[in-house]
């Protein structure tokens, strides 16, 4: 056994817990989870059945933590995990899984399959079996501070642009602000409108907010690659920043995994409850709307639909807010089939979009989104995750569908009246 494999198996032994044991003991091989997974439904290849993606984890569980499995291992009648096998499984655990969690909500025996994929990734990454693309992103996040290699000067440059464009100052490192706004590199590089939108919204709501010079990047490639140690390094920067600035709430940007990393995994990664709240920007907007702090004028007249990011809706519990926000600014808001809780993934979540060799499969899986869109034929597609946005744009372009993709926050901000106007 190579040292890296040994480390991987040891990590798996560490993460296997009662829920995993219960899940593996409950699976009856009914195959229903396959029907919930877009990589299966669009390819028809049974190897993409979610529970099958967990074979190595199941075997480690059985061999290490069941009496019969231990006996079988001792008698050398069970098949040990090999490096080659884990390498083979890379495609199943990363390329063809976006951690969208649809399988977990359809399993009739209640198995939380995505929970197990996340755990299996711990062992995969520790044994060196993570895909190059995500490894690179993790590397950049840890060493440079952002998966796309964005450093503070770049952020500052964008801040300057936005201040000029919108005429609103962008606060940085303001101690005691109510909100600390996080960004994703996508937003810094590709969608700077987001920062302007935040400035407008906060000004209208009359809230104090700030960016943090030591923690502006919210995305967490450590979590995507499935490594808690690296994820902890990344999330700790945010915790330190928020605590240093004594903010009440940290706002996760329009990025699904950033939200999950911070909101649900963060406290567990650092090993203590947060002293601040974590909210997704859509949740904050929803609160503002409810409290009458968000006022818009004018309505979009073209046909709009909303793509629910998995980590926000199904995995995060934010489902209603985006709908009432959409209705606030859109006359013709239509829902795609399966929208909301059961929405289909864009196909690039969970780090999948960073895997170059997975592109073909990703585009194949995108047919599901294509079908959803064809069912409602929107003029534009709104979402609340920068990663979804990029993946959707790529897919739409590939299938030559002329549907622009926009972010919900910016769209809302466009309807906020200029100050004094």
């Amino acid at each position: 056994m190579s040292a890296s494999l040994e480390k991987g198996v040891r990590v798996l032994k560490e993460v296997i817990d009662a829920p995993i044991a219960s899940y593996f003991s409950s699976c009856v091989h009914c195959g229903l989870c396959a029907e919930a997974c877009l990589f299966y439904t669009e390819t028809g290849d049974p190897k993409y059945t979610p529970i099958h993606k967990l074979e190595p984890l199941r075997r480690v569980y059985e061999q290490e933590y069941t009496l019969l499995g231990r006996v079988a291992k001792w008698l050398h009648i069970s098949k040990p995990i090999t490096d080659a096998e884990l390498a083979e499984w890379q495609e199943l655990v990363y390329n063809s899984c976006t951690l969208c969690g649809r399988c977990s909500v359809v399993c009739p025996v209640g198995n939380d399959i995505v929970y197990m994929v996340r755990k299996l990734r711990e062992g995969m990454s520790a044994s060196g079996n993570a895909p190059e693309g995500i490894k690179g992103a993790a590397n950049r996040t840890v060493t440079i501070g952002s998966p796309m290699g964005v450093r503070l000067p770049a952020v500052k440059a964008q801040m300057k642009h936005v201040e000029e464009d919108y005429g609103i100052p962008i606060p940085l490192d303001v101690e005691g602000a109510e909100y600390m706004v996080m960004l994703s590199s996508m937003e810094i590089i590709n969608f700077p409108e987001y920062l302007g939108a935040i400035a407008k919204i906060m000004r209208q709501a009359g809230k104090t907010w700030t960016l943090c010079s030591t923690a502006f990047e919210a995305t967490n490639a450590g979590m995507q690659i499935g490594n808690s140690d690296l994820a902890k390094v990344i999330v700790s920067r945010i915790v330190e920043g928020a605590e240093r600035l004594k903010v009440k709430t940290v706002i996760s940007p329009e990025c699904g995994h950033a939200y999950t990393a911070l909101r649900w995994e963060g406290a567990n990664l650092v090993g203590r409850p947060f002293t601040f709240q974590v909210k997704h920007i859509i949740e904050v907007l929803g609160e503002f709307q409810e409290q009458g702090l968000l006022k818009t004028e004018g309505m979009e007249t073209d046909r709009l639909t909303f793509h629910d990011p998995c980590q926000l809706a199904r995995r995060g519990g934010v489902i209603q807010q985006q709908r009432s926000l959409m209705k606030m600014i859109a006359k013709d808001f239509v829902e795609m089939p399966d929208a909301g809780f059961m929405n289909w993934c864009c196909g690039g979540g969970g780090g999948a979009s960073a895997i170059e060799e997975g592109e073909e499969l990703r585009l194949e899986a995108f047919k599901r989104k294509k079908a959803q869109l064809e069912a409602v034929k929107p003029d534009r597609l709104v979402t609340a995750c920068a990663n979804c946005r990029i993946v959707l744009e790529e897919g739409l372009e590939h299938y030559q569908m002329d549907i622009p993709v926009i972010g919900l926050t910016e769209t809302i901000a466009e309807h906020i009246p200029e100050k004094g106007a």
């Binding site: 899940y23 003991s25 919930a36 519990g317």
Partner: protein
């Protein structure tokens, strides 16, 4: 061994052994599984978690949105076969008598003719599910020895029970003894095969429901 000795063995020492192995296995496996424990979730819950785990235990019995259409055979077959089994096991009067003689609790049963009909339907559902397992690529792909084995283990007691009651194929004595024997085999294997889902399904659904309830997602 003649039929009577066979029957006497299966309803005497055989039953004792089978029930003992079953009880032993169930306790051992439940402790083995749930004693692994899990970490406390330190993230702030969206709502007070409440009874979401319990809700999921109930809610997961209903197919989620859109799923019924994708796999009608699995759902209909699954319902018929599980409900059928429950009716046969718990509402057939001789079985109630058996339970009463073991633990002293009893309840009203259904007329034998009704149970007869349910049995035929259950057998049919199991055959359909087997055919589905053979025909459907995902199911066939996932299936290993255990899947075929446990299907047989579950099918045989139902079949032999029905044949015994109907007086078909073999003399009643032999068939009754075979019925009891196959039921005993089923009992023995429950804790050590995927059939253990009969117990862990509640834990699994509860864990899933609790995790999601913490996030405010109703699953």
């Amino acid at each position: 061994m003649n039929e009577m000795q066979f029957l006497t063995w299966v309803r005497g020492p055989g039953l004792d052994i089978a029930l003992s192995l079953f009880v032993l296995g169930v306790l051992w496996r439940l402790i083995e599984i749930y004693s692994l424990g899990r970490k406390k979730d330190l993230s702030a819950p969206r709502h007070k978690p409440g009874a979401s785990g319990w809700h999921t235990i109930a809610r997961r019995s209903v197919p989620p949105e859109g799923m019924f259409k994708t796999s009608p055979v699995s759902y209909v077959g699954g319902y018929v076969f599980h409900i059928g089994l429950a009716i046969i096991i718990f509402l057939f009067i001789p079985h109630i008598k058996l339970i009463e003689s073991l633990v002293g609790v009893s309840w009203p049963g259904l007329p034998s003719q009704v149970v007869d009909l349910v049995t035929v339907v259950t057998l049919a559902a199991m055959i359909v599910l087997l055919a589905d397992r053979i025909m459907k690529p995902t199911k066939r792909y996932l299936s290993g020895f255990q899947d075929w084995f446990t299907w047989t283990l579950t099918f045989l007691p139902v079949l032999t029970g029905w044949l015994a009651v109907q007086h078909l194929l073999l003399p009643y004595t032999t068939m009754l003894a075979l019925h009891i024997l196959t039921a005993e085999l089923l009992l023995v294997f429950i804790p050590f095969t995927k059939l253990f889902h009969a117990f862990t399904v509640f834990g699994s659904r509860w864990f899933n429901g609790a995790v999601n309830g913490h996030k405010g997602v109703p699953v």
